[in-house]
């Protein structure tokens, strides 16, 4: 029997090890799996490489994971947002490494990681500092840079609905990086707002098929990042 449900966020993140690469879904607060991130803080794995578009807000969620000293390196496109102060401080003091990747290249590298494509060529960043040190090549008279796939040991994502096979739907723009991260990680951990029965999600409307999902925890009323930031909440 296939039943990917687990009973707690703590159980879901239990196997994350020091030094692992962890993809975390979300674009800003939309799709950020706060409960799973907080479980990872409680769990304490260190020296992580984290892949996320941003670096979190305030002192909760991803920002708190960074502040807690668990992240050795960030791979992201935009590590600077209105309420982010944790990452900039650590970065300036040389305590965290940054691999800056254009957002579309980040998405395509993750997708490639999940699709069994080790490398591909893209026009993005040609002629800019972010192409320095990368192989370039001309196809049909246009210049492209070669980019490598990114894979992860774990992905932490947030879904709207999930069934026990791991089929997922998402809510609006909270979808963002989650489907491709689910493909690129060896272990995909999902917090879903709602568990549904097999067949409740029309097979035509499944966004992430269960084959890309390993463990699911129902978090019926997830916390809202912007609300926590506004209230000045600090985790843990």
């Amino acid at each position: 029997m296939i039943d990917k449900r687990v009973t707690s966020c703590a159980a879901a993140v239990a196997d994350i090890k020091d030094g692992d690469t962890v993809m975390i879904g979300g674009f800003g607060e939309a799709g950020s799996p706060i409960e799973l991130i907080h479980a990872l803080i409680d769990h304490g794995a260190k020296n992580l490489t984290v892949v996320n578009n941003n670096t979190g807000s305030g002192r909760i969620g991803l920002a708190a994971l960074i502040e807690n000293g668990q992240v050795a390196k960030m791979i992201c496109s935009y590590p600077r947002t209105a309420n982010s102060m944790v990452f900039p401080e650590l970065y300036r003091s040389g305590k965290i490494e940054l691999e800056l990747v254009p957002q579309g290249t980040l998405a395509e590298r993750i997708r490639a990681g999940g699709a069994g494509v080790p490398a591909f060529y893209t026009p993005t960043s040609v002629g800019t500092p972010l192409a320095e040190g990368k192989e370039s090549r001309t196809f049909d008279g246009e210049e492209y840079v070669m980019e490598l796939a990114i894979k992860a040991d774990f992905a932490l994502i947030k879904a709207k609905q999930a069934d026990r096979y791991g089929n997922l739907t998402f809510n609006k723009t909270a979808r963002n990086f989650a489907p491709i991260m689910a493909m690129a990680a060896t272990n995909t951990l999902v917090q879903a707002n709602e568990m549904v029965e097999l067949g409740d999600i029309d097979p035509e409307n499944v966004v992430t098929p269960g084959i890309f999902v390993n463990q699911i925890i129902e978090v019926a009323n997830p916390q809202q990042e912007s609300k926590l930031v506004k209230e000045g909440v600090v985790y843990p």
Binding site: F27, E29, P79, L100, P102, G104, P123, T128, T173, I180
Partner: protein
């Protein structure tokens, strides 16, 4: 929408004595958005373009975080923290919208499916090089967002920018001194003083703001402009 840096916003916040206001620049640019276009608008002044597109034109807005058919700001009841734009501001979705993941969203961009992108600029070169993501300052936190993908993939790139920095330095230059976002990518510049087309022959000044003379613009531009005002 692309994440342009806070620096550029600060530089652009003080309007000049003569020329177009921020609203008027957006309004002027909006005249060139054609009926039926797929458009991506950068953060800041570019965002305002949507509200000035002439009536009768149907335009579909793309936001790179996974929505085609972005609508206006939500009412308090409509607000959903899971429905935001690339600037992380709450938005709505129009009837006929579609959600998709980041891989598909940037396939639309990189695959040249989007017609127009309107962005801000720190510097633009004579050849259409664009710098709008970093001043290259050693203590700055580098952040690029989707800007490099947009300029590499979208068919037409429009720039809306103050003609000079707030200290009066030229932003239209023979070469950008800041790190590039893309090489030879800009098609047209809407500044507070004029409209400039980037062409193989050079920078073509096609239109002046009211009370602004060609010489006034030329004096504030580090590249020799071609006067093409009718």
């Amino acid at each position: 929408m692309s994440n342009t840096s806070p620096e550029s916003k600060t530089q652009e916040s003080k309007p000049q004595a003569i020329g177009w206001s921020r609203e008027q620049m957006a309004q002027r640019c909006a005249q060139d958005i054609e009926d039926g276009s797929y458009v991506n608008l950068g953060i800041g002044i570019p965002e305002k373009v949507a509200q000035y597109v002439p009536a009768g034109r149907e335009v579909i807005y793309h936001t790179e975080n996974g929505l085609l058919g972005m609508g206006t700001e939500p009412s308090a009841e409509e607000l959903d923290p899971d429905l935001i734009n690339a600037g992380k501001k709450p938005v709505t979705a129009i009837p006929g919208a579609a959600y998709f993941h980041h891989g598909d969203s940037f396939s639309m961009i990189r695959g040249k499916h989007i017609d127009v992108c309107v962005l801000g600029a720190m510097q633009v070169s004579e050849k259409g090089d664009l710098a709008n993501w970093s001043t290259g300052a050693p203590d700055a936190i580098p952040a690029v967002g989707g800007a490099m993908d947009l300029v590499a993939g979208v068919k037409t790139i429009y720039i809306i920018t103050q003609h000079t920095t707030k200290t009066g330095a030229a932003k239209i230059l023979p070469q950008c001194s800041f790190p590039l976002t893309g090489k030879g990518v800009v098609n047209r510049i809407y500044s507070d003083l004029c409209v400039i087309d980037v062409t193989d022959d050079g920078l073509l000044l096609t239109e002046l703001a009211p009370e602004v003379s060609f010489d006034y613009v030329q004096a504030r531009t580090d590249v020799t402009l071609i006067n093409a005002v009718k």
